[in-house]
Amino acid sequence: MKKIPIEELFRKELQNYREAPPSEVWTGISQRLAARRRRKAAFLWGGTLSGCILLTAALFWIRKTPSQPNPILSNLQNLEQPAKAQSEVSAPLFNSTNAHSAAPTQGNQNQRPEASFTLRVPNPAPERLASPTRANQKVYGSHPVTEPTPIPNKITEESINPIESHASTDANVLQEDPNRAVAETLKNEEKSGLKKASENSEEHMAEAPELKPATTSDSKCKKWPLYVGITYEAGSMWRLMPQSATPNAWMPESQVEHLASAKGGTSTSFSDVIQAIQLMAGYRFGEALSVQMAIGHTRIGHFESGSLLERALPSDGRLGLMTETGAWKVGPEAVSDSMVRMKKLSQQFSFITLSPGVLYQHHLKNWVVGFNAQAHAHILAGNRAEATFAQSVHTYKHEGLRPVAFSLSAGASVGYRLQKLVLSVGFQGGYWLTPLSRSGFAGSRYIHLGVRPALMYHF
């Protein structure tokens, strides 16, 4: 008998040794590959979302207006600087601690005490005397107004006649002031402006409620033209491709049976529905146009019932339901018709949806008319199908779905504004650019139409 070295024998026999692995290995590999694809898609869209957020933030910071110097202080400085140049006199003309308590000085950014300032009046300069509006330039919030003087919250006798109401305390100062003429002039201007404002204040407030005194939140409104919201959409979907044009591919979860494909047929009663809930954040460019990003959950469902069971459910020949010869079979066994006819079929596909979009809003007093357009990336999160037969219910999972599907939608809405909240309802229509699966039952393209109530909060 021929003898050969151990190494050579093992090398000869085992170097190309082959053995078929069990099928579970491929199942595991395919699941892991699918999971990797989903993760990749999630990273891709997560990155896109992060990019959009960063872009929005960048836009915001770019557009953010630099904080303006306090106009009241500017006026005072304008008054002070020439005064220092022209005269050393700096005695206070009047202290209007109470007189201007209603003036909106909350926005004052230097550390001067709120609603309390001392107006130092310089030597009379001819041009200043000839310009009565100069001293009257006061600013509420960020809106400079010359005439009439901005409207304080409360118009009181004290605020109208600040000097008179403090005559006892300020009289000496006034008497000692060498520039009384200037003080008188300013006082008269102040009084006339405030009186005029008083007369017109109610009218102004009624006509333009937004012309209320500047507040902290109004200042933020200028700085933060952002809004957040939540929307819910419910509607119907319609297939653009007849079902018979696409083969089905079903795999059972139970490993008990395998429904490979359904040849077309005349489904009698079915409905496809869509439900979506989204959280959105938007950034306003001006009064009307906004860009927004939404993230949410979308679920589409397909329900069939009735005589749908006329449809054949041929199998892959190993296990399943066969109608090739007109006889129903489960595997090799023939079964009665009633056992295999489906009573009901329901499928649900759920997605995590990312939706960048634009929104145009037109304001009519408190009413808001809106038009929006959105692109959607739907990342598959799960799917489930249930087939109800006469005697049993089988749960299936649709295989072959794409990890990401895309759609476009647009809609119009009407809303009502309640201060910072806008409640709206509208219609939304969409078109699914990519079919949900590479092939099969859910492989056709859809359009959908839904009703979409929304609640938005504007900062």
């Binding site: 003898k3 093992f10 085992l14 190309n16 099928s23 395919s30």
Partner: protein, 220 residues
């Protein structure tokens, strides 16, 4: 979950007839997969991915079985190997054999797996770096050899696999396993001793007289 023996349809495509065809006319030339198949699989085309799996899995599973302590471990190794292969398909330059490339990935994956499991390599005293050349009958079949190999202690087996079957040198083995060359040689020597004793024990009549002829020769 797929039925036993059924490939996952998620990675296949329908041929339009309503019946899924996992491997219709696979564009495989001889034992090798064509460049086109590899390129399409690298793009994530399910049918081609499955085709590569079908072609290579028996061979790679055989490799995994030689290294793994248990069959379940071999399956894990195979799964991990294919994940690496499919993930790195785009890096394959089509310059050498695709099968050889896949083999190397599988061997490396197996070694990595063993390294994670536990320390397998028993240090033996240096100085026994010379192994005898053992002769056995040619009539032993692959199945018997695999069964024998599967009983071998893991440390011996790994070195024996790498040296005797994969054809790596002791220097390469030392680098791959992070051991010294001397250790590799001694492990091989011990592996052959172990095989010799096992063969005599299992097949006393066949190997009692003609099994071993030692040659004082460096095997490296």
């Amino acid at each position: 979950m797929s039925p036993p023996g059924s490939p996952d349809l998620a990675l296949m495509e329908s041929d339009g007839s309503g019946v899924l065809q996992p491997d219709v006319n696979p564009p495989v030339s001889g034992n090798g997969l064509t460049e086109e198949v590899i390129r399409m699989a690298a793009q994530g085309k399910g049918r081609y991915v499955h085709m590569i799996y079908q072609t290579l899995s028996p061979l790679l599973y055989g490799i995994c079985l030689r290294y793994a302590p248990r069959r379940e471990d071999a399956q894990d190794m195979l799964q991990e190997s294919f994940i690496k292969i499919f993930s790195n398909l785009s890096r394959f330059r089509h310059e050498g054999s695709f099968e050889g490339w896949a083999r190397r990935i599988t061997v490396n994956t197996a070694l990595e797996f063993l390294r994670k499991k536990s320390p397998y390599f028993e240090e033996i005293e240096k100085g026994r770096g010379v192994a005898g050349r053992d002769f056995i009958e040619e009539s032993l079949q692959a199945g018997e050899l695999m069964a024998l190999l599967s009983q071998m202690p893991l440390g011996y087996r790994t070195v024996f696999n790498l040296y005797a079957i994969e054809g790596y040198s002791h220097a390469e083995i030392a680098a791959m396993l992070g051991i010294s060359e001397g250790t590799s040689k001694s492990q091989l020597s011990r592996a052959k001793d172990w095989l010799r004793q096992k063969l005599i024990h299992i097949y006393p009549e066949r190997f009692k007289n003609n099994l071993i002829e030692n040659h004082e020769e460096d095997t490296d």
